[in-house]
Symmetry: C2
Subunit: 255 residues, 2 copies
């Protein structure tokens, strides 16, 4: 079994209205069941998912949080606007965004964008992935999966990895339930987070800095589907999440 990953060369700086599917089809010979992994930054830029800082009026709450964190209150206000739940405010602002994704600062930041703007995550990354996937089918006749990615930190360890924030034609979790181990025993570990593993793999080629390449094709990994899929299949419900419960416990004890 083999898998290969290759980064797409020569993409220009992306701006609002750009047709990412067309740019990808022009630069890669895609095959059916390829996974097209795309950094959320360029999807957001193409969709215009950005906010001009001067349009944001920070609330007192945002000012207070920002002061404690040493962050820009405009950024904090936008994070609050794009969140459905603030899990913890200090020493990091961890939220569930309007799309159900839990991350620091709702995935909003001020890098890789003009200094007057803040770049958001695409507002509906599954829909973005579907739009790009369908357009790729129209333009270059290939049935691909699409994974839109961000980089996030994680519990217990330093560092960040690529993670999936939107999917098309791939379920984010691969279920091995009912399979048996080498000794014929039924497996306990049954859910593999394949979309996140693909996102991390692609991130190894994407790079974080100015040399960054925001589109990586993965070939040879077979988990394609024509099902309707959503990244939300992998988000843990709040009431089943012991770690969120723990962080809420801290908030209550500090209030």
């Amino acid at each position: 079994m083999r898998m290969e990953l290759f980064a797409i060369d020569g993409l220009p700086l992306i701006k609002k209205g750009d047709d990412l599917a067309a740019m990808i089809c022009e630069r890669a010979e895609l095959e059916d069941h390829d996974s097209v992994v795309i950094a959320s930054t360029i999807v957001a830029k193409a969709e215009g998912a950005m906010v001009q800082k001067s349009d944001v009026v920070p609330s007192q709450r945002a000012i207070n949080i920002a002061k404690r964190l040493g962050k820009d209150p405009v950024l904090v206000q936008l994070v609050l606007d794009r969140s459905s739940d603030v899990i913890i405010e200090f020493p990091l602002l961890l939220v569930e965004n309007l799309n159900g994704h839990v991350s620091i600062n709702a995935g909003i930041d001020d890098s890789n964008v003009d200094t007057d703007y803040l770049l958001e995550l695409p507002h509906d990354p599954d829909a973005s992935a579907k739009g790009i996937g369908k357009r790729i089918a129209d333009l270059c006749g290939r049935d691909v999966s699409v994974i839109i990615t961000d980089t996030n930190g994680r519990a217990f360890k330093i560092g960040q990895t690529g993670v999936a924030v939107g999917v098309y034609h791939m379920h984010p979790i691969r279920n091995w339930q009912g399979e048996k181990d080498l000794f014929g025993k039924e497996l306990e570990i049954t859910e593999e987070a394949v979309a996140d593993e693909l996102a991390g793999a692609a991130n190894l080629l994407m790079g974080e800095a100015a040399g960054g390449i925001p589109v990586v094709i993965v070939r040879g990994f077979e988990y394609h589907t024509k099902d309707d899929v959503s990244v939300k299949e992998m988000y843990r419900p709040d009431n089943e999440d012991i770690i969120r419960k723990g962080l809420r416990c801290l908030r209550q004890s500090s209030d």
Copy 2:
């Protein structure tokens, strides 16, 4: 930029004393700076890092924890024996093991091993990785990186991914600090958890079930070093870990 991954074919069932480096050299044409990704299960088997269940006498504490979790008290006792810190006991037994790795059940389980035994993680996975890496250099004359992997769950999302538990000739974190973004601004996101991303990528080919392939070669990813390295470079110190603090808060409020 490209990267390819290929699984090693035809490894037999591994037993204590097996020379994994020799088996790998026999089955793959390795190149300098390849990353050799190896599932911890076969490293543990080759090293004899397993415990016969009948040798374990569960303490009352283990019996109590096991009862609440619906788990085998023998497993729970072994987890306690191999842990330096129990972070939370219910609804899952999350611990820091003697090597500093935080995971459920200290990475010990009863799959893929004879039914009278429990398989542990290798006791010093960095040392295991170094031993295999040096032997590969001796036997097939190639200077490779070695990543030993397990599969772990994560906060806020269901599902598990491949993660690194031991490294050789690769720093687990890639530091992009001082690099600039497309607009010349200095990057904030500076630490990429490359060993975990490689582990996840390899896990896509490894599979979880009886068809599992425990060795994957990654070629084309350039982050090789001759430095002494350790997986512990990426473990977050307890006192900087807000999530551990939250889970301890829960324990205190339930005591």
